[in-house]
């Protein structure tokens, strides 16, 4: 039984939904790299990210935002992909620090990836090595804007281009023993 709205009410519902999504960002901080240390100050009294409705989520099932806080080694990437796929749509990814953008200081490492958005769709990058909490919050506000515009469609992108992403992922993860998620 599909509930059908007329156009006007659909718009209103969408607006409410977007507003709610924008104001309620539950963050799954995947604590890789040095960025993990920047998250606690962001969340606690000094910078108080809860003002923006940002708060931590314990598990990927509950979370909206996946925060990749730094470089990802091949081993961690595998876990990140799994975690990302366990999250519920709509879901957003924030790449955090230059390591996620272009490899940063690990550009010639034999074991870290250098381009996060080749493996999972990233909505917002926050540059810096490391970005300070102010920058992090600004990144989140940017994400809120993207959500409000309805452009944060990472999950859909991932779903549509799954083969491409899989090919990229499997290029470096040789032993692909992950369960099938029926995308």
């Amino acid at each position: 039984m599909e509930v059908s709205y007329d156009k006007e009410s659909r718009k209103i519902v969408q607006a409410i939904e977007r507003f709610a999504r924008k104001h309620s960002l539950w963050v799954l901080a995947y604590g890789t790299g040095c960025g993990a240390i920047e998250v606690p100050p962001t969340m606690t009294s000094r910078y108080d990210a809860e003002r923006f409705g940002i708060r931590g989520a314990a598990t990927p099932r509950q979370a909206d935002v996946l925060l990749i806080t730094g470089y990802l080694s091949v081993k961690t990437l595998k876990r990140v992909i799994r975690t990302y796929e366990q999250m519920q749509d709509p879901k957003y990814v924030i790449g955090f620090g230059s390591c996620t953008i272009n490899g940063g200081m690990y550009w010639d490492s034999y074991n870290t990836i250098k381009l996060l958005d080749m493996y999972i769709p990233v909505d917002v990058y926050i540059n810096g090595c490391m970005p300070r909490p102010e920058a992090v919050i600004s990144g989140f506000i940017e994400l809120q804007k993207v959500i409000a515009e309805g452009k944060a469609e990472g999950a859909r992108k991932y779903k549509e281009n799954l083969d491409w992403y899989r090919a990229n992922q499997q290029k470096i993860i040789h032993n692909w023993n992950m369960p099938d998620y029926n995308w």
């Binding site: 409705g53 931590g56 099932r61 509950q62 979370a63 909206d64 519920q88």
Partner: protein, 303 residues
């Protein structure tokens, strides 16, 4: 159908909605207060509404089987049913619902219904954290039920009734409130209430940093939303129950809200400033002083 039937049906619709709104708003206020205590600004009071709407608006939902699918339904059934069997406002046909068909003992068991349903749902996910949370939660329940039941027994014996409505009728006038008539029962009950609300120091069931929010760890989207809805309603239901029993109930909504809010602040403020007990510590806590208070309450009634 005559007007009273319509009034009753209206009551069935209005009561849960009110409970939801009040419960969620309380949740928001709690978050603000917590933030202020921690020297933060805190989210807007409406934050919990946005959270719940967002969870409802999630596009996908994943479950691990029928029991997880129905787990939140069990929870909401328990909370709404309990609410329906608690007289919300004194002498108001709109707010009394089914309260004459059940009583305190029924409510004690009805409250478990949801926990057990949720526990079954959490169990089916296969997540060890959920099961650990459930084991802790059930054990904790055995702990806090003891002083709670002692307090209730003291009151039930004193007034020779198990009906909440009759207990409310007993407490007309400020000085007749049971909090003054049998203070020890109130102390035992309120200490049990701390455990019942799962705020620190008795938040070992959900312990986010430890077992990834325990039973809820595999719930997301609509399931989590329904759980939070039922949680809000349940919080309100428990508060109303305590108000009815100890604070003389309420004749109008404003009084009710004031009384429930004040009552709610006890576990909340305790929770903010306390660390966490381990399960067996919590159980032994409940079986020590609160139980003693409960026994004193009974002895006072008996002697």
């Amino acid at each position: 159908m005559d007007s009273s039937t319509w009034l009753k049906i209206l009551g069935y619709i209005i009561t849960p909605i009110t409970a939801f709104v009040v419960g969620v708003t309380y949740g928001g206020i709690v978050r603000v207060i917590t933030a202020r205590v921690q020297n933060r600004f805190g989210p807007p009071i409406t934050q919990n509404f946005w959270d719940i709407i967002k969870l409802y608006s999630k596009k996908t939902a994943v479950h691990h089987g029928l029991m997880q699918h129905w787990g939140p339904v069990f929870a909401i059934t328990a909370s709404v049913t309990s609410l329906f069997f608690i007289p919300v406002l004194k002498d108001s046909p709109l707010w009394l619902n089914n309260s004459f068909n059940g009583d305190i003992i029924f409510l004690l068991y009805m409250m478990v219904f949801g926990s057990l349903g949720m526990a079954l749902g959490a169990g089916q996910t296969g997540n060890p954290n959920s099961a650990i949370g459930v084991a802790r939660g059930l054990a904790l329940m055995v702990g806090y039920e003891v002083p709670f039941v002692l307090a209730l027994v003291a009151i039930m014996i004193q007034f020779k009734t198990t009906s909440i409505a009759e207990l409310m009728a007993v407490q007309d006038g400020f000085s007749n409130w049971l909090i003054f008539q049998s203070p020890f029962a109130f102390i035992a009950a309120i200490l049990a209430f701390l455990g019942m609300m799962h705020y620190a120091p008795f938040d070992v069931t959900f312990a986010p940093a430890e077992i990834a929010s325990g039973p809820a760890s595999e719930f997301g989207g609509k399931y989590l939303a329904l759980m939070q809805t039922s949680g809000s309603i349940f919080t309100f239901a428990k508060l109303v129950l305590f108000t009815d029993i100890f604070l003389g109930g309420a004749g109008d909504l404003v009084t009710l809200i004031v009384k429930t809010f004040l009552l709610y602040m006890i576990p909340v403020l305790t929770g903010i400033v306390n660390p966490r007990y381990r399960t067996e510590q919590a159980i032994t806590f409940f079986w020590k002083w609160p139980t003693v208070f409960g026994i004193i309450a009974i002895l006072i009634v008996v002697l």
